[in-house]
């Protein structure tokens, strides 16, 4: 039986995990992820979840324990953020190369130094090459639902790739909203017990894992991994369709448009800022301005086809980046541009850097972005809500 609750994003994730019945959780606390692991610990300490919870001594070990438990076929969850994500970053390509279906929440937060605990997406961008599926959610409900979907996706025998669910720090992790918690029976039938993949350790046919491959073999392992990742697009859509059948809610595939079909100008977003942008788009539409949005739900694999289709004939595209690659530009921008160049897109693209270190992104900021697009004015890379001149 489903029920409603007033939860923050962290708690919603914890509920998604609880309902997915993982065998093992290994995690290390870090703001703003803490409430998620605290909630999970309390489920475990109260006997509401039957699961091994490993209180590891660091994130590097959180990932390593996860690698261990996933290697024997146990459903495994972990969660981190920011410095923690970087500290475990050796383990990320390790796990993806081994094709271990670990699911992780990353509570998006800025990176030191200066230290700052607030939300931007710099952490996720640091590990974009790690071979993990990188998913971004927009609200607490989606966070909960995508945990369940992610296990299904990661464990699919065609995919067998770990999934990172990015949940904007504070803005989502600490904001309470009404969330529907699906009934356990429903989840159980949607997400059955994990089916152990044949390449993992097992007693019948012992396996050697995380082996070494010389220059004669390595490249094929990696290209296989790379090509398999593209299967995520189709699987995600099909999982979401099934999800809708079971739960009556759906979240879409790799990318989603909002009032984009006839848009003259489009803003590309990831994560929670999309919601604020919707408000702005609606008000611009009321003023007769054809503004639209494209939300990227996946950054890896990168949905070039969907993106191009959704952008259609918009005359200018702005990419809102809550991150920056020092000495270049925002990373989503770089990715989108590459994809658009290949598709032969001929409009102009702008990069809007905003929200670093939790700097508020106001509706006015987003209006400014749209007017930069409409008038095609200003620098290619622009900074928003700065407290001083450049």
């Amino acid at each position: 039986m489903s029920e409603f609750a007033f939860l923050n994003g962290n708690e919603a994730v914890a509920w998604g995990v609880r309902l997915s019945r993982p065998h093992v959780i290994a995690a290390y606390p870090i703001t703003p992820q803490t409430k998620a692991v605290e909630k999970l610990s309390s489920f475990v300490q109260n006997g509401e979840m039957d699961c091994k919870y490993l209180h590891v001594e660091s994130e590097h070990s959180a990932m390593a324990c996860s690698i261990g438990s996933s290697s024997v076929g146990a459903r495994t969850f972990t969660a981190t953020s920011s410095q923690g994500l970087l500290y475990m970053s050796e383990g990320l390509p390790y796990a993806s190369g081994a094709r271990l279906p670990i699911v992780m929440m990353n509570a998006n937060r800025s990176i030191a130094t200066p230290w700052n605990i607030y939300g931007d997406q710099m952490d996720a961008m640091h590990v974009l090459n790690s071979g993990w599926v990188q998913l971004f959610v927009e609200d607490a409900q989606e966070a909960l639902d995508m945990v369940i979907q992610s296990f299904k996706l990661a464990e699919n025998h065609d995919i067998l790739t770990p999934v990172m669910i990015n949940v904007d720090g504070f803005v989502l992790t600490h904001t309470y909203e009404k969330v529907e918690i699906p009934g356990q029976e429903l989840v159980d039938s949607f997400l059955p017990a994990i089916e152990k993949a044949p390449h993992l350790m097992n007693d019948q046919d012992p396996m050697s894992l995380c082996i070494s491959a010389g220059n004669q073999h390595y490249m094929e392992f990696k290209i296989k991994q790379h090509r398999d990742m593209f299967k995520v697009f189709e699987q995600l859509e099909s999982i979401d369709r099934d999800f809708e059948k079971s739960f009556g809610r759906s979240h879409g595939g790799a990318a989603a448009g909002y009032r984009n079909e006839d848009a003259d100008v489009i803003l590309v977003t990831t994560g929670s800022v999309t919601g604020t942008a919707r408000v702005v788009v609606d008000s611009l539409r009321e003023q007769g301005i054809k503004a639209g949005l494209v939300k990227l739900r996946l950054l890896r694999p990168f949905p070039s086809d969907d993106l191009f289709e959704l952008i259609g004939k918009a005359g200018a595209v702005g990419i809102l980046d809550k991150n920056i690659s020092f000495g270049f530009e925002g990373t989503v921008y770089t990715n989108v541009n590459s994809s658009l160049l290949q598709k032969g897109y001929r409009g102009r693209t702008f990069n809007f850097i905003a929200g670093l270190g939790g700097r508020d992104i106001t509706k006015e900021n987003i209006e400014e972005m749209f007017s930069a697009l409409l008038e095609q004015k200003g620098e290619t890379v622009q900074y928003f809500n700065m407290g001083c001149a450049l």
């Binding site: 606390p29 870090i30 803490t34 692991v37 605290e38 300490q45 006997g47 001594e57 230290w115």
Partner: protein, 297 residues
Amino acid sequence: MIKKLNARNIDAKECFYGHKACGGCGESLALRLALKVLGEEAYLSLPAGCMAAVSFIYPNMAFKNNAVITPFASTAAVATGIAAGLEALGKEAPLSVGFAGDGGTADIGIQSLSGAIDRGEKFIYICTDNEAYMNTGIQKSGLTPFGAATTTTPAGKAIHGCVTEKKNMFEIAAAHGISYAATASIGYPEDFLNKVQKAKECDGPAYIHIYTPCPTGWGHGSEITVDLAKEVVDTGLWFLAEYENGEFRLNKKPENFKPVADHLKRQARFRHLSEIEITQIEEMRDRKWEKMLKNWG
């Protein structure tokens, strides 16, 4: 011989001021006292943790000294890097000091600490132990004691608080053959001052582990922070000892212990404990003392 330090003869100057720690914070007292001995010439390294969080909030800098926040895992590495840098630049007798919490010491920072001690260079490491990850909201660390409720080991229906015992950081540091190691408590401030003094004088690496109650994380009134820190020694749940020239020494051998239950019940984190669990805690204490008295007696 070195002059014994006490409340009257310590430096009246403050090197740690205006920080944003909770009122009655035990850790901040430990830092303040240590700096009375270390002086403003000491170079300070603090990893992520309450003390770093409350002392470097731009534009409010609470240390008078040169000071740096280190990556959470890296207190000792940064501190020895500073020492090496200063030495290579020709500074005479540079003093580099790391201050880290229990989590930053016994968990994520233990490797860097172990490596630094092993390299054998002079630096001081002070672990301020409040028995949980406070900065992030009171999660269990390797130094959380048996029975304590934290946000990751709540007093649940199936599991009743923290099930593991405190890691023996003092003994682990000593097992490295470190030049000087000691335990302390802000409940015995003058003992602590003099141990910091010894650490400062000694040639190689030194480690001091100080017990620092946290009103916010333990759930006690801010005014009894120091009381609790004294009581914990008097109940035998914590001990004052030193390791020097390869030998252990107990600084205080209680005749008999103050009652444990009263002490625990003053802290919200222990309030759920059953009598059986409290007895278990007493037994653990007795086993520990038996061993200490036998081996270090």
